[in-house]
């Protein structure tokens, strides 16, 4: 007797049936993040950090596919071109990578990055780092960000878990006073890096839409 194989549509229907059975049988967590205390509602487990860094890298890769030299030369704001904005993200990817590597090696910081002339960020440091990348190609800037973000993923895996959640003084000094450093667990710094990236990605997406109009 010849063995009959199922038709593709039969297999599709069978998968659909199995999927519905799985949905009915699965013991999905019933506690939502809203059941946790507000200070525990942060995605900072090593897996969550790896996932957020991976998402950032994918978004970066998709930007790399659409931003060309001509677009990079257009102004993103009164002071920076789009290429400068990308360089800003690359500079912070490098800085965050170095900072987490320092903590992983159980070393401390001998410098500060004070917020200056603004409550929003360390403008002098930002400007210096962007200037330092003006001669680089777009490709070099894209590569720097991706390599540094990949390095952060490696560091999230390598760093001792207690160290990942221990409040640590980092170089950022939001008050402007070099001795008043940002005191946060490294996991929060990595999560903050992703937040900062996504904030600028949204700006860049809007810019690209405007350029296309």
């Amino acid at each position: 007797m010849t063995e009959r194989r199922e038709m593709p549509e039969e297999i599709g229907a069978r998968l659909d049936l199995e999927w519905r059975s799985l949905l009915a049988a699965i013991s999905a967590p019933e506690r939502s993040p809203l059941d946790l205390p507000p200070d525990r509602r942060r995605a900072v487990s090593p897996v969550a950090l790896l996932a957020e860094l991976e998402e950032v890298r994918e978004e970066w890769t998709s930007l790399q596919g659409v931003v060309d030299e001509e677009m990079g030369a257009r102004f993103a704001n009164a002071a920076w071109t789009l290429k400068d904005l990308l360089a800003h993200l690359a500079s912070w990817a490098r800085e965050f990578g170095s900072e987490i590597a320092t903590v992983a090696k159980k070393e401390s910081f001998d410098y500060a990055i004070p917020f200056a002339m603004s409550v929003l960020g360390p403008n002098q440091w930002n400007e210096r780092e962007v200037q330092a990348r003006r001669e680089r190609t777009l490709e070099e800037i894209f590569r720097e960000f991706d390599e540094e973000t990949a390095r952060l993923q490696d560091l999230v895996i390598e760093i001792d878990e207690p160290a990942l959640y221990r409040p640590t003084p980092f170089p950022l000094a939001p008050s402007g006073n070099q001795r008043e450093r940002l005191l946060v667990p490294p996991a929060f710094l990595v999560s903050g890096k992703c937040l900062h990236d996504r904030y600028h990605f949204a700006q860049i997406r809007k810019l690209l839409d405007r350029f296309r109009e």
Binding site: E6, M7, I11, I26, L34, V47, A51
Partner: protein
């Protein structure tokens, strides 16, 4: 509502997002409604990808990531389409990233010789849950024999995402999505016998 495909013109997600955008629903109430709507889908997506003992923890990671993101959610024009489900798409890609992160972390933390680890995986089974489900032979087989990109498409389509949504989420064309879906079915067809 168990997260099965909704046939109506306006999925619950769409209604929740619109209500939230109009200020008719608080962020927490909207989040809770979406959590209840999709928690089984998220757990099932993870159950197909990772060992059953890790599903709860990873599902919590997925929901915490979404919780953080939903506080700053931008209500775009996609809400006007009854087909679009940006939250489901977001959860789908987050499950992918979380599963990859979990696998990478698990690989790096293995201290046992490789064979021992493989024995343990075979004994506890990465798809114990699927094996326990009598009817889940095709799903279990898909997990074992389909390349990751085909499994992604299968899981997204099973949860009711349209080809367009899957294509946007995976950054590929709709033609590629259809191609991967057909390839996955053909692969399963070559292994599955009628009545098995």
């Amino acid at each position: 509502m168990m997260g099965v495909k909704e046939e109506g013109p306006s999925p619950l997600e769409n209604r929740v997002l619109r209500a939230r955008a109009r200020g008719e629903m608080s962020a927490d109430a909207a989040f809770e409604a979406l959590f209840q709507e999709y928690r089984r889908i998220v757990a099932s997506w993870l159950a197909v990808r990772v060992d059953s003992g890790s599903v709860d923890d990873l599902a919590q990671d997925v929901w915490l990531i979404f919780y953080g993101r939903f506080r700053r959610w931008e209500f775009g024009t996609e809400m006007e389409s009854t087909e679009a489900r940006p939250v489901l798409s977001f959860l789908f890609s987050t499950c992918q990233f979380v599963a990859r992160g979990h696998q990478r972390l698990a690989r790096s933390r293995r201290t046992d010789p490789l064979e021992e680890v493989e024995d343990k995986v075979a004994a506890s089974g990465p798809d114990t849950l699927l094996r326990d489900l009598e009817a889940a032979q095709a799903l279990s087989l898909a997990r074992r024999i389909c390349p990751e990109e085909e499994l992604d498409v299968l899981l997204a389509k099973l949860a009711g995402m349209s080809a367009r949504e899957v294509a946007t989420t995976l950054s590929v064309t709709e033609a590629v999505v259809d191609h991967r879906y057909r390839d996955a079915l053909a692969r399963l067809r070559s292994k599955l016998k009628v009545g098995s």
